[in-house]
Symmetry: C2
Subunit: 320 residues, 2 copies
């Protein structure tokens, strides 16, 4: 099967406006009236960002969702994507079929389409690279606008994906099979917070998505905004499955504050936005939790309810 | 050295408008007034698209130029780029310094800037992926507009890069050291035909860049336009270094018609455009040669001066 046939069979059905049916070297791209683009690129490499035994459809979901989480963090609406597929020679038709089915599911869920890309053969490692375009009405959310006095918020719950990966790697045992499934699902299929990102325009002063662990990513936000962040450990939002592991897991808190792959939005906003944020949480069906606040200075600290600081070993997160 | 420090030291100096100083998850992107975007993505993988012993600066040049050749083929002007760098753990500061120096040279030559991207660690293989944006005034050149009666043209000369690679691999010996240098340079540093691509708007009926060999790429153009292409072997434009190898190289003609990495523009235009094309060649300083014509039917054939067909074994080109 030639590259040409594979593109026609598996990728052309995913192609949309400007893609020129994937027959040309590139694609054309114009932002819809009244919008500008946000663009981001992110990769999934087997053995680095995933275990490699995932179903091809799940790899497609992870690849797309990782990127759309970045689009959400900037307050934009998913629009289209380019793919760069670097695949081992032995990649099967079955892989192509399942991978593109996963892409198709993402397209339906997020209203995006394939714009173009390239494919290449590699000697073993599979590298899937995606460039995502979002449309922006207004100004992009960035990491740079937090000011002392703002509150610090997080969407959803923390630590689930990291514990899901730990379960897959037999480092942790979930309390029940249902909990195990829920945590693994959070690792496998990140949920980009698109609706919340769109609603945060004019409300959040700074925003980012967290994928490398709360503490490490919060440090980026603090540095970009030139402020300090003070996080209250007892306020961190947890799923019941994660909470249930507290007494069974030696490094439980580290999974929550240093574990990666959360793909939640971390953002700051002044107290005057509290009502708006409650409304956004209600309409999106996703919790928004105040986890701390912004002060002058620099760095990120984690505190007990009595105010004492919790020292946690800093570790770079390994996605796998 | 952290990823953060590397980005700040080596990549931030390359960043331009919309990049948000590379501090955020993505970049913002608006097409300049009166233009739309063309976008393309292409990768360089060590062991696939290059030998791997190239200087890092040359790898940067190849990566950028491969992509800008696609931009040129669509009649657009280079604008900006995203980078996805998947690098082995052992990548040195020296590599970063030289690679980004190569990028900087390309930025100066083509008037482009870095918009964003991502970096990741791999286990051995180096994969460099680039997404290039071009701005388009008017309509994109595509592979689809050739009609019977048009002439077929090529820019520059053919086969040089393939022979340059063969010299590097000790499969072919150049006639003189100067010839060897010239051919290897053509392999190492492709020259995207930007000025010609821009001028071909309203003049060419179909256009593409050839990177996988003339015969194979011409077949794509023929299929997309639903026409046949008839190529005259004696008209193929050759450099003196390539011509000098004719009697010394058993598969000489195959290097010319099947060898890849030419990065020349292959295009069709009606005879009425002959004067315009001569003017474009003069002002760009790059030869434009009529190498055949378009007929009804399908497929690509290669002919002797007496009209007899030359049968050449079809081979997919290996960039390395």
């Amino acid at each position: 099967v030639s590259e040409f046939d594979r593109i026609r069979t598996y990728l052309s059905p995913l192609a949309g406006e400007g893609s020129l049916q994937l027959r040309d070297d590139g694609a054309t791209l114009s932002s819809p009236a009244g919008t500008t683009f946000v663009v981001t690129t992110d990769s999934v490499i087997t053995g680095v960002h995933c275990i490699g035994d995932e179903s091809p459809a799940l790899m497609a979901h992870k690849l797309v969702r990782r990127n759309l989480s970045d689009i959400a963090a900037m307050g934009a609406r998913p629009y289209a994507y380019l793919l760069s597929l670097m695949l081992p020679k032995e990649t099967t038709e079955n892989w192509w079929r399942k991978f593109t089915r996963g892409l198709s599911e993402c397209q339906d869920e997020f209203g995006i389409f394939l714009l173009g890309g390239d494919t290449a053969c590699t000697l073993g490692v599979m590298t899937l690279s995606l460039t995502a375009f979002g449309t922006l009405t207004g100004t992009a959310l960035t990491r740079s606008g937090a000011v002392a006095g703002d509150n610090l918020y997080i969407t959803g719950t923390l630590g689930d994906a990291a514990l899901g990966l730990a379960i897959l790697l037999n480092k942790v045992s979930a309390t029940t099979p249902a909990d195990a499934t829920a945590l693994i699902q959070r690792y496998r299929v990140p949920q980009p917070r698109i609706a919340i990102g769109l609603s945060l325009q004019g409300c959040a002063s700074a925003c980012m998505d967290i994928s490398d662990g709360l503490m490490q990513d919060a440090a980026h936000l603090a540095r970009c905004s030139d402020v300090a962040l003070r996080i209250d450990a007892h306020r961190l939002p947890l799923s019941s499955a994660t909470f249930a592991l507290r007494d069974k897991t030696a490094t439980w808190l580290e999974y929550i504050v240093n574990g990666g792959d959360d793909y939640e939005l971390l953002f700051t906003a002044p107290s005057s936005q509290a009502d708006s944020l409650a409304q956004i949480a209600r309409s999106s069906g996703v919790a928004i939790t105040k986890i701390g606040h912004v002060t002058s200075g620099n760095g990120v600290t984690l505190h007990n309810e009595d105010g004492t600081e919790i020292k946690i070993a800093k570790q770079g997160w390994q996605h796998f």
